[in-house]
């Protein structure tokens, strides 16, 4: 079977999904319009029964309270805000992802719940109210204390640690969403032909064009 026949067998040539045509597009032309990148609720072929049942069970449970989720939403949008290239973390569904992941990986539960509480206590102490009720200026002051480990003071170490965890989870959730993948400009995961590094890239990096 040659490559064309392979793709036919996969149903990628006739189906009109545009996968082949899209392979030459840059990220700009490939902007996602559907932002509802919710995982499918039906079982995909190849997913084991126990895995699917576990996913459904976790999705039916609720870990964070409404207040905790509002705080998470506020925080993740500070971490990854909307800019001229792409939407914000909450637009990409990051709070839902974090809600799922702490049930999937229970070791996150105490650091996350406790970390959110730490934020509110710190906020109450410094600003006289919980984090989400602070003004933007106040929130930025509180974040600046914990978002830069190299210049943070010892008394907020637990906050620094919480923020690192939250930032990593936010990056995981955002850059695995359609919005985030488009933001990065990942243009793979589609059938194509790999014929080596494009000539102009070789040149720009000082490699001979016949190298490789």
């Amino acid at each position: 079977m040659n490559r064309r026949e392979s793709l036919k067998a996969l149903g990628l040539l006739a189906s009109g999904t545009g996968l082949l045509a899209a392979s030459s597009c840059g990220p700009e032309k490939n902007k996602a319009t559907d932002h509802s990148d919710k995982p499918p609720t039906e079982k995909l072929p190849g997913v084991q029964d126990f895995e699917h049942e576990r996913n459904l069970k976790l999705q039916a449970e609720q870990f964070f309270s409404a207040h905790e989720l509002s705080t998470i939403t506020c925080l993740v949008d500070y971490i990854i805000p909307k800019d001229e290239f792409s939407g914000s973390a909450s637009e990409a569904g990051v709070p839902d992802f974090i809600e799922f992941i702490v049930k999937d990986m229970p070791h996150y539960q105490t650091p996350m719940r406790g970390g959110l509480k730490w934020m509110d206590i710190r906020s109450q102490k410094k600003m006289g109210q919980v984090f989400i009720n602070c003004t933007t200026d106040q929130q930025i002051k509180l974040l600046d204390e914990i978002a830069f480990p190299s210049r943070s003071i010892p008394e907020v170490e637990q906050g620094v640690s919480f923020f690192k965890t939250l930032r990593n989870l936010t990056a995981s959730g955002f850059y695995t969403s359609k919005i985030g993948i488009d933001d990065l400009g990942y243009v793979g995961n589609r059938p194509g032909v790999w014929s080596g590094v494009p000539a102009e890239v070789l040149q720009a990096h000082g490699f001979a064009t016949d190298e490789g």
Binding site: M1, K164, A171
Partner: protein, 578 residues
């Protein structure tokens, strides 16, 4: 259950094959094509990559975005199983360690492996340094089988003429990615050769093979391939063998015991259906074990009878002994030259585009044997864990003006840093020879059974100086290549306190040696054909027969040896019938 009943099959097979991975798959394929009636028993479910592969799925189609909660290599990886299986424990002697990876599915671990397909060389079969025992066979005896595996299954690579890294019959290799060109240049400066990878992926149509598609470069071999563009035992061996009408597969069948008669010959096996727990026994003229090195050893040790009081084929007491994995250690970082790089699709193939075969002379080193290096990096599909710790790299990442960017913290600056960093990562991992030792072994734990009532394995495995010094050398080499290509190291640089990052035994998933072959029945379990010295119609075709593996990944040798054993079985049958 009040009445215990074992259902006895009335069908009498020419051969029963236990396990459907590389070894079992190849034996089943050869025997079924030769017209034998073959029964294959697989402990896991049926699996067809054409239907079941999670290839081309996007990260968001997994609620955990591809994280490894239920599958160690992530939600999209093809292996059903892992280092821990519910209800199927194993134990370790105190002070020792071993991690035992099991994939319960048709095709076993071949559905998700890296497709890195290296031949063992003349010095691997007949070592000149006297550190380990020689195999009872030479490279020249195995070469014709390697050649046939190359033609039958397909492998890409380049002819290099390296003495102990024998060339095969190669398809064209994929071209290097940008980071790999930097690695090759850095390797050259560091004195480490970097050559085209060798992988079982069809980069072009394989002459004479009609039912398999050609690679379309999604880089996801680990998820198994819907068009059968890479080698899995399920797609390339078992499913084709079923089409002959001579091979029957029973899935969800966990084999309990090899049954033997008064003379000690194998007459069949007993197994339990893992879904309804019904017990069965089936009969055959020949029994072939390809359940994986440790699972086959376990099965033999658990098959006790008056003719085989220590377990079938174990009069030598060596079943389970000489267990050895590969060594493994790694280092990762990023290439500043690749910050803000131009985007294009560089998924390539899912096996390695480049690698470094072992290149040094051990006479000048403080450890025996060697390792090869596999490389990673590139603009991959983002999945769970992406940019973990990137924000904390701070001053390690230069800005566009060449000055340190500082900590981005949060907000637009952080987003900008992530964008800039994407695709700049580079990693390397060594895979080396671990010495097969009598005192590294698995045995039956006298106190524990699994959920089917089958006694479980207890492992005794410790690294020794040879492996630790090798890992030390790996770390020095990795750092030198990183330095020469101008990369910034971001992972922990391991020292003696962590055995230079040497992974626990079993972690590299190259375990073998538990039913070693040899000419002396007192010093080996199998003869040079993979036939048990004390049970003539019992064979082992997984990595158990390996006397000592090289730094080469096992699969290609398992395939070649299983083909050789299967043809020996056919010849022996001819003698009897002839």
């Amino acid at each position: 259950m009040t009445a215990f009943q074992i259902i006895e099959s009335t069908e009498h097979y020419d051969a029963i094959v236990v396990g459907s991975g590389a070894g079992g798959g190849m034996a089943g394929y050869i025997l079924a094509h030769a017209g034998l009636k073959v029964l294959m028993l697989e402990a896991g479910p049926f699996y067809d990559p054409a239907i079941d592969a999670l290839q081309l799925r996007w990260s968001w189609e997994s609620p955990r975005r591809g994280a490894g909660t239920t599958r160690p290599f992530g939600d999209f990886d093809a292996a059903y199983g892992g280092w821990e299986l519910e209800g199927e424990p194993y134990t370790r002697a105190s002070g020792t360690e071993f991690e035992w990876f099991r994939a319960r599915m048709l095709g076993g671990r071949t559905n998700h492996w890296g497709r890195i397909s290296l031949r063992m060389g003349p010095d691997d079969f007949q070592p000149k340094d006297g550190v380990t025992d020689s195999w009872p066979i030479t490279y020249d005896e195995v070469k014709p089988f390697y050649d046939r595996v190359d033609r039958m299954i397909g492998i890409y690579g380049t002819v290099e003429g390296i003495h102990n890294e024998p060339d095969g019959i190669f398809l064209k290799p994929p071209k290097p990615r940008l980071n790999e060109l930097y690695i090759r240049k850095g390797g050259q400066k560091a004195g480490v050769p970097v050559i085209a990878g060798r992988g079982s992926v069809l980069t072009e149509a394989l002459p004479g093979v009609k039912d398999r598609g050609t690679c379309f470069y999604c880089g996801q071999c680990g998820r198994s391939c819907k068009v059968y563009g890479d080698f899995s035992s399920s797609s390339c061996l078992v499913i084709p063998a079923m089409k002959t009408g001579n091979l029957k597969v029973i899935d969800n069948a966990m084999v309990r015991e090899v049954l033997t008669n008064d003379e000690g010959l194998a007459i069949g096996v007993s197994y339990v259906n893992t879904k309804d727990l019904q017990e069965y026994s089936v009969k055959a003229k020949t029994v072939i074990l390809g359940a994986s090195a440790c699972e086959s050893a376990r099965l033999m040790l658990n098959s006790k009878s008056s003719a085989h009081p220590n377990g079938v084929g174990n009069s030598s007491g060596l079943v389970g002994k000489y267990l050895h994995d590969s060594t493994g250690a790694g280092l990762s970082g990023f290439l500043p030259q690749l910050l803000d790089r131009k985007r294009y699709n560089e998924d390539g193939v899912g096996s390695v585009h480049i690698y470094s075969p072992w290149w040094l002379d051990n006479k000048k080193l403080d450890f025996p044997r060697g390792y090869h290096i596999e490389y990673g990096g590139g603009m991959r599909m983002p999945s769970y864990g992406i940019f973990g710790g990137t924000a904390e790299l701070g001053d390690k990442i230069p800005g566009r003006d060449g000055k340190p960017m500082g900590e981005a913290g949060y907000g637009k600056a952080l987003k900008e840093q992530y964008r800039r960093f994407y695709g700049a990562g580079v990693g390397m991992a060594g895979r080396g020879t671990a010495i097969a030792r009598l005192d590294n072994y698995c045995e039956i734990d006298s106190n524990k059974v699994d959920k089917f009532g089958i006694p479980v394995l207890k492992f005794h495995y410790k690294w020794a100086n040879e492996e630790i010094l090798q890992a030390k050398h790996m770390q020095e080499t990795f750092q030198s290549i990183m330095h020469e290509m101008g990369a910034v190291i971001t992972s922990k640089i391991h020292g003696p306190e962590t055995a230079y990052g040497l992974e626990a035994p079993g972690k590299i998933i190259h375990e073998g040696g538990t039913t070693r072959m040899g000419n002396d029945p007192k010093k080996s379990v199998l003869n040079k054909w993979g036939q048990a010295h004390d049970c003539k119609n019992l064979y082992v075709v997984d990595a158990g027969p390996f006397v000592q593996q090289g730094d080469k990944n096992l699969t290609w040798t398992i395939l070649a040896l299983s083909m050789r054993t299967a043809e020996y079985i056919l010849q022996e049958n001819k003698k009897i019938n002839g």
